[in-house]
């Protein structure tokens, strides 16, 4: 549909897009640039200068002094079980509300969806007090309660993500033809077999998209670990990287290096699973 006259108009469009791109990239490039420069150089010439050398020393220092490996591992401890549990529970719930009609199936789906949209701060005080007053043996928790444990963080992350995932998956499952499970029913397959052997394999594209999205969300989540985890060495990376600011004080070079390192796993997931990630973000926003 491109007509030659449109090219003239498009040059204005490109000027606009280039200007916006510059605005969008400047903070990121500035961070990367700062992270590559030794502190002695920026102290001497200022951050607004072109003097070399450029090297990766800040990354090494941030990695070891900032205790980043520990934070990364902690993020795995939280994200992996949370994503697996969320998807397992959400797909079962979605199956039950979308493939069967019963009295409260739509009501429950509405409540699930609503819960996920609440600002987390609304629930902060009661959840914090509930966990504080739930005793756990000291073998399981050094605090003697659910506070300062991964169980607390994982449980709340799962509960919060469950609504969204159930909603998306139930919409997806609704589009699968009813004949599929009816044929299985005739063959004598029970509810579990229908779910496990027929519906779940067909839901794989939606599950892949949701899993990618959830991994990035959980990795990026700041609030729940901040609220529940008080031991600094248990924090996941997104909450932990914030404490680097206090640790490295005015050393912007190290802060920039730490921030850059934190983005790398997200970047890898995004580049490897880009299709799934964007599909997850827009799941249901367009037809199909």
């Amino acid at each position: 549909m491109r007509r030659p006259t449109q090219n003239v108009r498009h040059s204005g469009t490109h000027v606009f897009l280039l200007a916006m791109s510059a605005l969008w990239l400047a903070p990121l490039l500035w961070t990367l640039y700062t992270s590559l420069r030794p502190k002695e150089v920026t102290d001497k010439y200022g951050y607004w200068s072109l003097h070399g050398p450029f090297n990766l020393h800040n990354f090494g220092t941030a990695w070891t002094d900032g205790d980043l490996p520990r934070y990364f591992v902690n993020s795995l401890y939280i994200a992996v079980p949370s994503v697996l549990l969320t998807l397992a529970l959400a797909s079962m719930m979605a199956f039950a509300v979308s493939r069967y009609t019963w009295k409260f199936n739509v009501t429950l789906l509405i409540l699930f969806t609503a819960g996920n949209m609440l600002p987390p701060q609304v629930l902060a005080a009661p959840l914090f007090e509930m966990f504080k007053h739930t005793p756990l043996p000291y073998v399981l928790s050094t605090s003697g309660s659910l506070l300062d444990t991964y169980y607390a963080v994982i449980a709340v992350e799962v509960a919060f993500q469950l609504g969204f995932c159930t909603f998306v998956l139930s919409n997806y499952m609704k589009t699968l033809p009813g004949e599929l499970t009816e044929a299985a029913l005739v063959d004598g397959a029970g509810v579990w077999r229908q779910f496990r052997r027929i519906i779940l394999p067909l839901t794989r594209p939606a599950l892949a998209a949701l899993a990618t999205l959830q991994v990035i969300w959980l990795y990026n989540d700041f609030f729940w670990p901040l609220l529940f985890l008080s031991s600094g060495d248990r924090l996941p990376i997104t909450t932990g990287v914030n404490s680097l600011q206090g640790q490295f004080l005015m050393n912007y070079n190290l802060i920039a290096a730490g921030a850059t390192l934190t983005v790398i796993p997200t970047l890898i997931v995004y580049l490897a699973l880009q299709r799934h990630f964007v599909a997850g973000l827009t799941l249901g926003a367009s037809k199909g």
Partner: protein, 317 residues
């Protein structure tokens, strides 16, 4: 996109595709009913215990005074906490004002910018994929990282902005995050940087899903590009438009991470969500007051939530 990018559910158009003829539970055998009961029961129990009951407890705690120690120490005080918050709590009204400004900025600047980018990038222009990746990059970052990256931009003598303005190192250098007259706007630009990209992705997906024959029909009828956009495309995108409005509203109420990273939400960056947490964990631990603030936040949040649910589920039944 939760922070916390808010993971907000996405609306679906009513499916006209062959719909599942839903099974009837009554026809099921006993063991099938048990399986189905567990499939519903376990997730529902988790939601009830960790979302719905805490929401109700928040309302309960808001009419009590409690130091968070023994449960027997909970004392009912009626509406005292609300009275205190509205009349005597100094940061309350500033926080409300900041939340309103936050919403205004997202609704009038960041969201329209995201929609504009989507409309522009939906055209057949060169490098559209590359542009999309650029605007999308901040969406991948946590709000914590957005806060850190922009601190490097806003730093008084070391930051990019004052160096570009040529004021770095002089007395005229603005302390973008420390000066309570400007720091809210500085934080909003950082938020908008990410929010616009998020809206762009959502809107672009909607535009791509639009029936191409709509536009063809409009152009055959002699409509200009602008007319097609405003009279045909935007009305046809109603579902996405509502979604974008709801997301914008909710993001404005959920705003927390960025201001917490900058200065724990003080000195010009007070927000309702932050006051809730300051009352819960700070010295003093005024759980009742924090809960009263949480309930006010809940009531306001219910507006976009209910709008969204009504729009989404009314047609689906």
């Amino acid at each position: 996109m939760t922070q916390t990018t808010a993971p907000v559910p996405v609306a679906t158009e009513v499916e006209r595709a062959p719909r599942a003829r839903a099974g009837r539970v009554r026809r099921l055998t006993g063991s099938d009913r048990l399986v189905l009961g567990l499939m519903v029961g376990v997730p529902t129990l988790i939601q009830a215990v960790l979302i719905w009951i805490p929401t109700l407890l928040s309302i309960g705690l808001s009419v009590t005074r409690w130091n968070g120690l023994a449960l027997s120490g909970i004392k009912p005080v009626g509406l005292d906490n609300y009275r205190y918050a509205l009349r005597d709590y100094p940061p309350f009204w500033p926080a409300i004002a900041h939340n309103v400004i936050w919403l205004g900025f997202l609704a009038l600047v960041a969201t329209p910018l995201g929609v504009l980018l989507a409309v522009v990038l939906d055209q057949q222009i060169r490098f559209t994929r590359l542009y999309q990746s650029v605007f999308f990059t901040p969406v991948m970052l946590s709000l914590v990282l957005v806060g850190i990256v922009w601190q490097l931009v806003y730093a008084r003598n070391e930051g990019l902005l004052n160096n570009l303005l040529g004021t770095a190192g002089t007395n005229g250098a603005v302390d973008w995050l420390g000066d309570p007259h400007v720091n809210l706007w500085a934080a909003l630009i950082a938020t908008g940087w990410r929010h616009a990209g998020y809206i762009m992705v959502l809107y672009l997906a909607g535009l791509k899903g639009l029936d191409p024959s709509l536009r063809e029909a409009a152009s055959i009828d002699g409509a200009t590009g602008r007319q097609t956009l405003f009279r045909v495309v935007f009305p046809a995108m109603r579902q996405i438009n509502i979604l974008v409005v709801v997301i914008t509203f909710i993001e404005a109420l959920r705003a927390f991470d960025i201001v917490w990273v900058i200065n724990h939400g003080t000195n010009g960056l007070e927000l309702l969500s932050v006051l809730v947490i300051q009352n819960l964990v700070g010295e003093g631990q005024v759980i009742g007051v924090g809960s009263a603030l949480a309930v006010l936040l809940l009531i306001v949040s219910l507006i976009p939530i209910v709008i969204y649910l009504v729009r989404t589920f009314r047609k689906a039944d």
